[in-house]
């Protein structure tokens, strides 16, 4: 029982991050019909900019930084994400949407590898420990609380909470604001939306930036749990993509739920909860990938298939 609770909370806090990235992938796919291969690296960029502003590149001397600097760091990370994401949209996506698939595929990949190379040059240590934005250590037993016999990090609640809040805000923005209405109009019919005065390109560019930015927010909360590398963003982007593919780039909440499910699945396999088949744990990342590839091959995506 305690192991199950442990697995569920560990999985949900990892899955919450996947879920937010899946939302980004899903949103971008529905807005432009493309898949953004640099989204994960954009998330990594946001997280590292936050770290840079909040704590610098030196090894951390304390586990937490002041709230003000952290807030400043998060704002800076978000701003960089929006600028790089929107700039990337205009540079490598917009010229090719609907024309040359190889153009935007290569363009977004190049953007991703360029971002990672910049991070590699600026952050030369193999892995970084992020400071906690909130002093979790002071809560419970050195940052741990016991629920149903399982030791749960307080941070896990914060990650899940922040992710839920972010997804909720994103959902509210999509449903209730005029920016959200523009995005939904573009997703339904870009040409029609442009005709009734929606500034399609601007809205899309902003969405490209925000998709990375909001996911970076969750990463900043989650990252202190484990060492974070410059390549971690790309791996998170992959997990988010897998989750989005599992729900066929569906709605916001289904993408989020797929991310959560993926996180719990990985945790369950990884800790041997699902049977004690020896060596199964090594397959925890491979199985979802394989499933996603098979689903991709056999089920149509949401967009209408071109029959002729």
């Amino acid at each position: 029982m305690s192991l199950a609770v442990q697995v569920v909370f560990t999985g949900l806090s990892a899955g919450a991050v996947y879920g937010l990235i899946a939302i980004g992938h899903s949103l971008i796919y529905r807005l432009t019909g493309i898949v953004h291969f640099a989204l994960g690296d954009l998330v990594g960029l946001g997280a590292f900019v936050t770290l840079l502003v909040a704590a610098g590149t030196q090894p951390l001397t304390q586990e937490t930084v002041s709230g003000g600097r952290m807030a400043l760091g998060i704002l800076a990370g978000l701003a960089v994400c929006v600028v790089v994401g929107a700039g990337g949209y205009f540079a490598v996506v917009q010229p090719y949407v609907g024309r040359s698939a190889i153009g935007w595929v290569a363009g977004t990949l190049a953007l991703g590898f360029a971002i990672r190379a910049v991070l590699d040059a600026a952050f030369s240590r193999p892995a970084y420990v992020f400071p906690d934005p909130i002093p979790f250590r002071r809560i419970g037993n050195d940052g741990l609380v016991t629920i149903l016999g399982a030791q749960i990090h307080v941070r896990a609640f914060a990650v899940i909470g922040v992710a839920l809040l972010t997804a909720g805000i994103a959902s509210w923005v999509l449903q209730r604001t005029s920016f959200g209405r523009s995005l939904r109009a573009i997703a339904a019919d870009a040409e029609g939306a442009a005709m009734v005065g929606v500034r399609v390109e601007r809205a899309r560019a902003l969405a490209f930036g925000l998709a990375g930015g909001i996911a970076a927010l969750a990463v900043v909360v989650a990252a202190p749990g484990a060492p974070f590398e410059t390549g971690s963003g790309a791996l998170l982007g992959l997990k988010g993509l897998v989750a989005a593919v599992l729900v066929r780039f569906g709605g916001l909440w289904s993408a989020f739920a797929a991310g959560l499910a993926l996180g719990v699945f990985e945790a369950a396999i990884g800790t041997g909860l699902l049977g004690h088949v020896s060596g199964l744990a090594s397959y925890r990342e491979l199985i979802p990938l394989l499933v996603a590839i098979v689903l991709l091959a056999v089920r149509p995506l949401r967009a209408r298939e071109v029959v002729e």
Partner: protein, 597 residues
Amino acid sequence: MSTQTAAVRTGTALREAVATARRSWTDTATAGGAAFALAAVAPFVLGGLIAEDTLASGAYLALAATGLGLCVGLGGVPSLAQGAFVGTGAFVAAHVLRHTQLPAELCALIGAVAAAALGTAAGFAVRSLDSVRVAVGTWLLTWLVALGLGALPWLSGGGQGLVVPTRRLFGLNPTPLVHYELAVILTGLCALALLALRRGPFGLDLAAAAQHRGAAAALGVPMERLRVGAFAASAFVGGLAGGLAVQLEIVADPTAYGPLLSFELLVAVLVGGAAAALGPGVGVIVLGLIALAARALGALAGVSASRFQPMLEALLLLAVLTTGGNAIVPGAIRAVRRFRRVPARPAARAVMPAPKRREHLRAEGLVKRFGPVSAVDGVSFELHPGTVTALIGRNGSGKTTVLRLLSGTLPADAGAVRLGQHELAGLTPAERVHAGLVRTLQSRRAFFSELTVLEHALVGANRTRRYGGAVRTVVSTPLHRAENRLAETRAVAALETVGLAADADRQAGELTGSGRERLMIAAALATNPAVLLIDEASAGAAPEELELLKTIFIDLKNQGLAVLLVEHNLGLVRAVTDQVLELELGRVVPHKPNSRL
């Protein structure tokens, strides 16, 4: 006696082959030969500048990239899995080398076959997907192999990798120089194969499918089979490069075959020129220069070169992309052509065209429902050879649905279609084209803008070929060459019928809307059909173009075809048709000759 005639025939065929080769010897061939010779002597010239093993692994990278050129350049398919195929070849070869005493070349070949098997599976999985899903699927596959190698020590030898025993290569001591020359020769052969394929029916079909899937499907291009083939061949070459390179490196490194390798190979292909045979190789040379630059930069900044290399590669690719995708090799070819006049294509020699097919088509009780709506509700008719039938009716009356049921893009809920003795139910559109039933599409964008007018008709004529397969194209068998002439005759005849023979060498994109419409009729005609279904040829046509269409339809009738026209222009209908079918709400109603639409 018979051996003598066989010898004579072989002699003639050989002479012809030499003549063909001499005719097709161009500046490109000279440049390619020079590039090959330069590459072969590079280690002796560059001597101390670049280490031989660096050159050799670069040459294997060029081989893998040239293989990828088949998918990306010819097929226009954004494959991101080449790194995974190289890795598969490398690790399978490494395991075979460790556990058996087989010769080194055979081990590499087994690796290549394993990679080709994975490539076939991947190609089969993405055979009918749009580019977005192909990109995502192949990207996930690259990660699957990379994460798999990282997670499964029994496969990859864990963090240390697998140490690979060295064996003699083709009886030679496997020095880096031997590896290098082998890689250069294989890359050259692969580039030649790519060139032959691009000019042959395989490349033309792939290019057509890449430019407009729907139009290619309507002409019966077997897109799924082509794509599986392109993936398998790409993967085979990639796997071969991996299986040989791993013997050069001595250790199979599980971290070397990740997404970065797939990305680098894609960069090489796109920077050098995706469709040019030498493009990928040139792209790899550029990557090599980048590696040198990165090392210099790294030395300046005092950090490892590996940090700068991907960034420079990404920046280079972004530069190529943002300047309108002007890759190196195609750009150079264009620059040379500006100074040199391209010799005119010799006129096709007259060969007796194959006999026309004359079949009549009978549709009985066709039904198609979309939910509660019956789009087509029990439609029956016959089309006779040498007649034109018009299918008319208001918008939404079911005309295009009838065409789709006939051509097989939509399955019928009930009813039968017979062409002569053939029952067509259950056949794919491509199989129906082979049986002798072809259609044109309504959309004016449904054509291949980057092919020439003649090439359009050749895509159609390819459907009549029996010896147009990839292997026959690469080795250029006598039967294949004889068939080339027949296909060209057929294509030119089709262009003559629609009045486009004089425009044979123009880009299709330069034609007017009506010209494109006629071009697609010609492409359909070149498939040698018995029944031709034409969807709205007259939309937006000027009066003189309407007159031209009338003469074309009368000509088709005289050639013995059974033609079905979906038409809104009643003047055209009255002028050429023998039979009028009027549809109303999915049923055939008696046609009132004076009715207006």
